[in-house]
Symmetry: C2
Subunit: 201 residues, 2 copies
């Protein structure tokens, strides 16, 4: 019923996560009403996405295709003796935004989830173990997500790292009350952690 | 901080209506994780949008660029004596989906809104008045939106059409309770219309 070119845009945008046909229609119609260079701009950015981004061979972070190694590893201000381990590349930017970490990163590429076919050998665990020796790492901070998969991955990592490097310091992000969540809404596990890890005032 | 190509996608998608930086990031990262041809597909559809869609010179509906006149006007099954007037091209498809209308359409291209600089001469009113004579129109159905601007536009249209064609039947879409809205949530104006225009059971 709609012009084919408009239908194509609705179908294409409908593939974005959480975008239903109504939202896709709204986006498409907005683009149709806007100047052609708005659509052209988005089209160009999308075409350049995969060619412009590549994975760092050392840390598995994402980086500009022009780089040979992630600047978050290569920069002399980054402390290579401390490695913060995350599941996904974008997790790095959540940590970077805090401006509280000057070590380096290691991206696992997911978390162990046998149901989804993600086993330990699909993650960049071997490369992490190699990095500990190569970069004389003194501390590994495990920052997997607080989910069942993230927890299992953390437990496995701790075991593998401890077996190979008994003296390596292995830490994880603290559990506790997030800012702005009042006690009555906090879940039991978070509250138990907050109580067990209470700090002196 | 992010790779430039990823940043470009986030910026570009952030121009879509209602898409903030978080949503744009989510879309961009989804595209980065997906196969390159998903982004490429969206890019191609967007590039083809403005060249593939044009405005019908008669009804101002949107149509395939390959058509010379809207099929919703040109098709012999469409009754050219009845013209339904809408503000925007997509309004047509809302009516078409009902499968209850076999007349033709006329798109005004907006509603009168002096605050936004949309005055009567910016709308396709003159062309509508010409169509009444050209196509021996017997009824004009005014289907502008139930907003202040839509109402003012309807009143003006009625006045202009009535002046020129005193015998032309001019109607508007009925006001009443929409499906699924209970009485206690209906606004006062809707409820007044529903009461005034009550129908026999």
């Amino acid at each position: 019923m709609l012009p084919a070119a408009l239908n194509d845009v609705i179908d294409a945008l409908g593939r974005l996560p959480g975008v239903g046909s109504r939202t896709a229609e709204r986006y498409a119609y907005f683009l149709l009403k806007s100047d052609a260079n708005v659509s052209e701009n988005i089209a160009e950015a999308l075409s350049a996405l995969h060619t412009g981004v590549k994975t760092c061979p050392k840390t598995f972070a994402i980086m500009d295709a022009s780089e040979s190694i992630s600047p978050l590893y290569d920069d002399p201000t980054r402390d290579k003796n401390i490695v913060l381990v995350v599941e996904e590349p974008l997790d790095i930017y959540a940590i970077e935004r805090t401006r509280s970490f000057t070590g380096t990163y290691h991206v696992l590429g997911g978390a162990i989830s046998p149901m989804d076919g993600i086993t330990a050998d699909k993650l960049h665990i071997r490369e992490l173990i190699e990095r500990v020796a190569e970069d004389s790492v003194t501390e590994i901070i495990i920052a997997t997500n607080p989910s069942v998969e993230g927890e299992s991955t953390a437990v496995l990592l701790e075991k593998l790292l401890h077996e190979k490097y008994p003296d390596l310091r292995i830490t994880r992000l603290a559990r506790g009350l997030p800012l702005g969540v009042s006690l009555e809404y906090a879940d039991q596990i978070t509250l138990t952690s907050a109580l067990n890890n209470r700090t002196n005032l």
